[in-house]
């Protein structure tokens, strides 16, 4: 006998994500789910962002880390609330782990919650965390083929940051390949070309993200 089910396999994750999203909307907190490869510069981006907005916005951070709390240690100096989720080898965060750690934040006292997902371009794209939007971060040293290889992320993200543009002379990264592939996959997505260590292009990113925070609040 055949029994029809017709159900999303990730229903449990989706239901919890919907709950998280509702709660954050009620508390007027925007949640940004940052997805990138390991070493693309998520933590450095957050360092620069905390330095820029430390006075202007109330920031919280959820650090998804496979085993350590090294990223959180780097961000401690900004005196903002940070919670680490160790995935114990898991390749992505899910909505249940996010929901559990939200209790550690005073949501009424936050404007924006950055989630640093586990470094990986495929798995985190599948799991809705209840975020306001996803941000794709890639770096020039990874090569210019990332949009074409991981189209789901670049379709789902609301903006793309291309980091480490200061290192382009030392790589075979071709801006044209990257830009045209991204355009083919998601023609209207904003792209910020930055160097988080040197500061290039960050002004545009700060303007865009503050616009997002102001709009949603």
């Amino acid at each position: 006998m055949e029994i029809k089910i017709m159900k999303n396999i990730l229903d449990r994750n989706q239901n919890k994500a919907d709950e998280v999203r509702k709660l954050l909307e009620l508390k007027k907190v925007i949640m940004v789910n940052i997805i990138s490869s390991p070493g693309a510069g998520k933590t450095t981006l957050l360092e620069r962002t905390c330095e820029e907005f430390g006075e202007k916005f109330r920031i919280g951070i959820i650090e998804g880390d496979v085993t350590t709390d090294r990223d959180a240690q780097r961000l401690k100096k900004y005196g903002i609330p940070i919670v680490v989720i160790n995935t114990e080898g898991g390749c992505h965060l899910d909505s249940h782990s996010i929901s559990k750690v939200l209790d550690y934040f005073e949501l009424d006292k936050l404007d924006v919650l950055f989630v640093e997902n586990v470094g990986n371009l495929i798995c985190p794209s599948q799991f809705d965390l209840g975020e306001s939007f996803k941000l794709a971060l890639v770096s020039t040293t990874e090569g210019d083929d990332k949009p074409d290889k991981y189209p789901m992320l670049f379709r789902e993200a609301k903006a793309v940051l291309l980091n480490k543009i200061d290192l382009v002379p030392y790589t075979n990264f071709k801006y044209n390949n990257f830009r045209s592939d991204l355009k083919r996959i998601n023609a209207n997505i904003p792209l910020f070309e930055v160097s988080c260590t040197r500061g290039d292009g960050l002004k545009e990113w700060f303007e865009w993200i503050s616009g997002q925070i102001n709009n949603l609040n």
Binding site: M6, K7, I122, P151
Partner: protein, 117 residues
């Protein structure tokens, strides 16, 4: 690697349904994956087998149907299949699109028997 978590969630749904329907054995599980979700079938099958070991679904065969990425153009209403990651209407060239298929992670049905010894 996300195959493992998805396989575990699938086995939970399969076993729950088998219990509700009083199945003694699950013989087949029919699922649909969209092309965008980038599941590697071999890893997924392995992970599923592991998570149903020693249950009524121990011998269940997994049938995976992969569905292509299809979009609908918001501007002209044309439905088309996305090839080579080209997310652009093949009639009017608009890039304002809604997804019709390609992101599925669906369990369609299970098949089994109710023979209790």
């Amino acid at each position: 690697m996300h195959e493992i978590k998805i396989a575990e969630d699938l086995s939970a749904i399969v076993l729950e349904t088998a219990k509700e329907e009083k199945l003694s054995k699950v013989t087949r599980v029919n699922i649909i994956f969209g092309q965008l979700v980038q599941i590697v079938p071999e890893i997924f099958e392995f992970a599923f087998k592991e998570s149903v070991r020693d249950t009524v679904a121990n011998d269940a065969e997994l049938f995976i149907e992969i569905v292509p990425v299809k979009m609908r153009c918001i501007k002209c209403g044309n439905d088309f299949q996305v090839k080579e990651n080209r997310f652009e209407c093949n009639v009017c060239r608009s890039t304002d699109l809604n997804i019709i298929s390609g992101k599925e992670l669906f369990v369609k049905s299970i098949e089994g028997e109710q023979i209790w010894k």
